[in-house]
């Protein structure tokens, strides 16, 4: 039984840091300069005045425009691509086809299944077949329509159930058999035995519909050769480093002569985290024509790029003891992957990896299966693979609490994981703000007084969740840092910070400026930033997995600490005080014992430069090695986990089934807010996105009558008909930030970009139940489904069956308390590098 006071203690006084902070950096608890202040964002002025140059704003003299010719059929062999008519159009400069791209790629080493243009097959409507480069965009568009493609149609697969039932024709020639891309099985202790010994066993089926990111900015790329013939790709990407690697390989360009610039972005949410055809094809077109080549995707093309939330069917089983404790828990997931691998193997593991990090469970069993289908590929969207099982678990627990007669908030508080735990699947969790978050939303929403007492049609629902602060492993095997930061201090007292991190709107530039300014005692506005450019900054792996604040932040603190050390030494001499009495603040370096004795920051730089040469420092960060050593254990470990709890109040119209969200109370375990305004913005944005998924968003597809047509198309690839909530649909949100510095985070900070989405969909579902007594066990919770549940004898609407899947032989990994060392007992021992190696990399 977790003791709430123990968690409170952990929140208040964090365990000692596992990694020493730079010697002279301010320690947690000290008064802060820039940290924690609601300062204007580093890129705020440029964005408000329209100065920000998004990729689509870029233009160069002599620039050509490119348009992709995309497949109009869902699955077919390409018999012929005839570009003659297109090439004959005045203004057309080049037509590229799959023959120009023999080298395959893929974001994960195990899924090298994409070509920049399709070579012999198309796999979904929207798969790019050819590219037309012309003097203007309209000419390129019209000429692309003239590219004649002859197809030999193949049978299509529209759902995972169809994929399992249809091993032939295969969409890809690799994977775990037929149209199964990946099937995994992990046993952490004997769950069947735990269920047999349980007081009660519960089972539920859930479905979580797919959704897309819907960033306002549509993807765009400008590729050009510089005066020295070096290739630059300026693009809307969250992962400039990964694109740099892939583009160099596919294009056959030496990496040293390729530069990728991640332009500032109008939203990513994971939608710009993969490698996209148009980026590589535009680069090739620039190489072929020698001219700058621009491509701007339409909204419909962005729907085809997708890489969004996987639709997931889930079966959960839980055995509880008499006290309500979880003795054994089992999750089976079936993912609709779409037409390519992308991040899919990681997504599959993520549907199981974080099931254990919120509540104590003695034993855990995971089965995950991802299938290929003839639809745009799925991938990472805010929460990557975890919102689906989180929805299942939190609704499942609500039902369990109902049956046990327990208050769902009390149950969660009593069963919350303790700080410093090692979970059944060997995830090491350090600080945990879960209980603090639960207590905060329970108090703010007056949960105890109001739940179940709001009258007909009104209800409260609660859920909590956890998320990573950065993936513990890179996506390709290497021993290098995950993030690097370089500082240059000039004689005028200016500081320029170089880092490969991509600002996608989440505020990473601001975090960088605030942290460097904090360590050096400057105003963040005085810190110049050069980010997202592979030629001008050290590698940062990218803006995904909520990793940037923690990893880039630690690298920045290290780099700034090293600069501070040099300046402090020079200033100590100038001020004639011992080193430990040197303080930084307000643009000055001073004697902490007598703050009037000071030199300016610029003078400190000059003295340091005179003393030891140019003042430039570097810092880098690599996460601690994870304790999980089994294959698949590379997905889920993180230096820290953030926690969130939410209470949602809804009004349900029993005559129409329409659900209106009245208010959301949400508490997030932020560790320490580096900029509380940005943190709240991320929380509110996550609530918004979570409500969209809970109530209306659907990346849905349709077939036509099969006797008439083989079409398989996106239902509504437009911002009008793909329904995402409008401003007026947004309820009031009360955001509570729960502090509790995380020793692994910079100044104690944790992530906020993704975690706060997670509790929203299940809290809405639980609130609907409180309001009208029905269970809608799938999202989106549409009026039709609520009405169907109200009319059903079972008072439920949701999936009815989970198909039979031929699972592989499970890896057996004893939980920490059942012995073992984090390895599978039935897997050959892996090399000493195993802890750092992603699960995929060990495969040929």
């Amino acid at each position: 039984m977790a003791d709430p006071s123990e968690s409170s203690a952990a929140r208040a006084g964090a365990p000692p840091p596992s990694r020493p902070a730079p010697a002279s950096a301010p320690q947690a608890g000290a008064a802060f300069g820039a940290v924690g202040k609601p300062l204007r964002r580093a890129d705020g002025r440029a964005k408000v005045t329209g100065e920000t140059r998004f990729a689509d704003d870029l233009s160069l003299p002599g620039m050509l425009f490119m348009k992709l010719k995309r497949s109009s059929v869902p699955h077919a062999r390409i018999l012929e691509v005839d570009a003659a008519a297109a090439l004959a159009v005045p203004g057309v400069r080049a037509v590229l086809t799959g023959r120009d791209f023999p080298v395959p790629y893929g974001i994960l080493p195990v899924s090298q299944d994409e070509h920049a243009l399709c070579v012999d097959k198309v796999r979904f409507v929207g798969d790019p077949v050819a590219a037309v480069v012309a003097a203007d965009e309209l000419v390129a568009e019209e000429a692309a329509r003239l590219v004649a493609v002859r197809y030999q149609p193949l049978a299509t697969i529209a759902s995972p159930e169809e994929a399992l039932a249809t091993p032939e024709p295969r969409i890809h020639e690799y994977g775990d058999g037929g149209n199964v891309h990946k099937a995994v099985a992990l046993d952490f202790g004997d769950v069947p035995a735990a269920l047999a010994s349980a007081d009660q066993v519960f089972e539920d089926l859930f479905f979580y519909q797919g959704s897309t990111h819907l960033a306002l900015e549509q993807h765009a790329t400008l590729a050009y050769l510089d005066a020295d013939g070096r290739l630059t790709i300026a693009t809307s990407t969250q992962v400039p480093h990964y694109l740099h690697r892939a583009a160099a390989k596919v294009l056959g360009v030496p990496p040293a002569r390729l530069r990728v610039i991640a332009q500032p972005q109008g939203g990513g949410f994971g939608g710009k985290t993969d490698l996209f055809n148009h980026e590589i094809v535009a680069a090739k077109a620039a190489l072929i024509t020698g001219r700058p080549v621009k491509v701007s995707l339409t909204r419909e093309e962005v729907f085809a790029c997708h890489r969004g939330r996987h639709p997931v069917l889930m079966r959960l089983r839980t055995g509880v003891g008499r006290d309500g404790r979880i003795l054994g828990h089992s999750v089976e997931t079936l993912l609709d992957g779409g037409a390519y691998g992308g991040y899919g193997v990681a997504s599959t593991f993520y549907t199981g990896a974080l099931e254990t990090v919120t509540y104590r469970m003695d034993r855990y069993r995971f089965r995950g299966c991802r299938t290929f289908t003839n639809k745009p590929p799925c991938g990472p969207k805010r929460g990557h693979g975890t919102p689906q099982p989180r929805f299942g678990l939190e609704v499942h627990l609500d039902k369990i609490c109902q049956k046990l007669g327990r208050d769902p908030a009390e149950w969660r508080i009593q069963n919350a994981l303790a700080a410093g735990s090692l979970t059944a699947n060997w995830m090491k969790v350090r600080t945990i703000g879960l209980v603090g978050c639960l207590e905060a939303v329970v108090a703010a929403s007056r949960w105890k007084e109001r739940r179940g007492k709001l009258g007909p049609g009104r209800g409260l629902g609660l859920a909590s969740s956890a998320y990573l602060c950065g993936a513990g492993l890179p996506i390709y095997f290497n021993d290098m840092p995950h993030s690097g930061v370089q500082l240059l201090l000039d004689r005028g007292g200016g500081v320029t910070v170089f880092c490969g991190a991509a600002e996608v709107g989440q505020g990473s530039d601001t975090v960088l400026a605030v942290l460097v300014a904090e360590v050096l005692g400057l105003d963040p506005d005085d810190v110049k930033l050069v980010t997202g450019d592979t030629a001008l900054g050290p590698v940062d792996l990218g803006s995904y997995s909520s990793r940037v604040t923690l990893m880039m932040g630690n690298a920045a603190v290290e780099a700034a600490g090293r600069a501070r050390d040099r300046l402090a030494a020079a200033a100590a001499q100038a001020l004639e005080v011992p080193l430990e009495r040197v303080g930084f603040g307000g643009g000055r370096v001073f004697d902490v014992g007598d703050p009037d004795r000071a030199i300016t920051f610029a003078e400190a730089v000059q003295r340091a430069e005179a003393e030891g040469g140019t003042v430039g420092t570097v810092g880098s960060y690599r996460p601690p090695p994870p304790p999980s050593r089994y294959k698949g254990g590379g997905v889920g470990p993180s230096p820290a986990y953030s926690y969130t709890a939410a209470v949602v109040e809804v009004e349900v119209d029993a005559a129409t089934g329409v659900v209106r969200v009245v208010k959301v109370w949400i508490a997030h375990d932020i560790g320490r807010a580096l900029n509380p305004v940005l943190v709240r913005g991320q929380v509110e944005g996550s609530v918004y996105m979570g409500l969209g998924e809970a109530l209306m968003e659907e990346q849905a597809f349709r077939r036509l009558p099969p006797r008439l047509s083989g079409a398989l198309v996106h239902q509504a690839p437009s911002m009008l008909e793909y329904k995402s909530p409008a401003t007026v649909d947004m309820p009031e949100v009360e955001t509570i930030l729960v502090d509790g510095p995380e020793p692994n985070g910079p100044f104690g900070a944790k992530e906020v970009g993704q975690g706060p989405l997670l509790p929203i969909p299940p809290a809405v579902a639980n609130a609907v139940h409180d309001a009208v007594g029905v269970r809608v066990d799938e999202v989106p919770i549409t009026p039709e489904k609520v009405l169907a549940a109200l009319k059903a004898g079972s008072r439920r609407h949701g999936p009815e069956a989970f198909p039979s899947i031929a699972w592989p032989e499970p890896l057996v990994v004893p939980p920490p308390w059942e012995g073992g060392d984090g390895s599978a007992v039935n897997e050959p021992r892996r090399s000493e590098q195993r802890g750092r190696r992603p699960p995929e990399a060990s495969k040929p």
């Binding site: 996106h714 009026p783 039709e784």
Partner: protein, 329 residues
């Protein structure tokens, strides 16, 4: 971005000039009012007029003339946002002001016009798609194809009338003026529409919808409009219920007209429901329920808009009842 196709643009300065152009060019020309319907349709190549005839330079299309006691004539280029901000419209024709205020979004209402909203192209989830998307389904009979994918056995197009103002103006008994080189004709708004997704307007290609006439409300007359859509903004109606009634002494209905939009290729009048209400007190819940049942009989939604057709059918009854309750006050 999605580009407009090539086209010729003409900007006549008078209605006479405009109708002369249309008479010369015939169906190859398309009149352009606010552009919020035509231009996106052109980007998607649903409509590909060789010539676009801009009406913005014709001052007379923005004029209005009030005839005290008899009604109001509004130029067809009156913007929807003007209607929603006009106290006189709210006072005399609140259902119209409300319908105008519920169209799309504020920026679109600043461009969109009353005439344009009446002439809105019919909508369908198999039709309101890009050329590439429509190519992937082999197109449909409304543009470039032969089949209606909503009802593949059907020989007609089932695209949906999606105007918010049309059902209201039908219920109010409003009229429109259609101008051509041959002169003007004035017809009831209800006669502007035909029950066919392709030939949905009685407007001939050489005609311009020039004005809308609103009859002055009589004593005891009231009207309401309810709109059903997924979100609180932006969306076209999946159902619109316009109801007008004249109440005599004791709240007894003397006349009633209920017109629903979004569930057919034209606004549908529920004549039986209106007749049923005559002579009954509108405040009686039983009368409302029976009238709502009769309204729902007229609604024939198909699977070609947002939401499932079964739910939309159920909602026709529910929303009709709500509209009548609101009408009863």
């Amino acid at each position: 971005m999605m580009r407009l196709p090539r086209f010729r643009y003409l900007g006549p300065r008078s209605l006479g000039e405009a109708v002369a152009v249309l008479a010369d060019l015939g169906p190859e020309a398309a009149p352009l009012a606010g552009g919020t319907d035509l231009l996106p349709n052109m980007k998607r190549r649903q409509q590909t007029p060789a010539t676009v005839v801009g009406l913005r330079g014709i001052a007379s299309l923005r004029e209005r003339s009030a005839d005290p006691g008899r009604g109001l004539t509004l130029g067809a280029m009156t913007r929807l946002s003007e209607l929603e901000r006009d106290g006189a419209i709210w006072a005399a024709w609140p259902a119209l002001a409300r319908a105008a205020s519920l169209v799309a979004t504020p920026p679109l209402r600043n461009m969109g016009t009353l005439g344009g909203n009446l002439c809105l192209d019919t909508r369908c989830s198999y039709y309101d798609q890009s050329q590439e998307w429509r190519e992937a389904i082999g197109f449909c009979m409304k543009k470039d194809g032969a089949v209606c994918w909503v009802a593949p056995g059907s020989d007609r197009c089932w695209a949906v009338s999606s105007s918010d103002t049309a059902p209201v103006l039908c219920a109010l008994g409003a009229e429109v003026t259609l101008a051509s080189r041959g002169g003007e004709r004035r017809i009831p708004v209800a006669d502007l529409f035909a029950d066919d997704g392709i030939r949905h307007l009685a407007r001939r290609p050489d005609e311009i919808l020039a004005a809308v006439y609103l009859p002055a409300p009589r004593d005891g007359e009231r009207a309401v409009y309810l709109k059903l859509r997924r979100r609180g903004s932006f969306d076209f109606p999946v159902l619109g219920v316009a109801a007008r009634a004249r109440l005599g002494a004791g709240g007894v209905v003397e006349s009633a007209r209920i017109v629903i939009g979004g569930v057919g290729s034209r606004p549908q009048e529920a004549r039986a429901a209106g007749e049923f209400l005559v002579g009954r007190r509108l405040g009686e819940e039983e009368a409302i329920r029976e009238a709502a049942r009769l309204v729902a009989q007229v609604a024939k939604p198909l699977q070609n808009t947002d939401f499932s057709l079964g739910w939309r059918k159920q909602m026709a009854r529910e929303y009709a009842a709500r509209a009548l309750r609101e009408l009863a006050g």
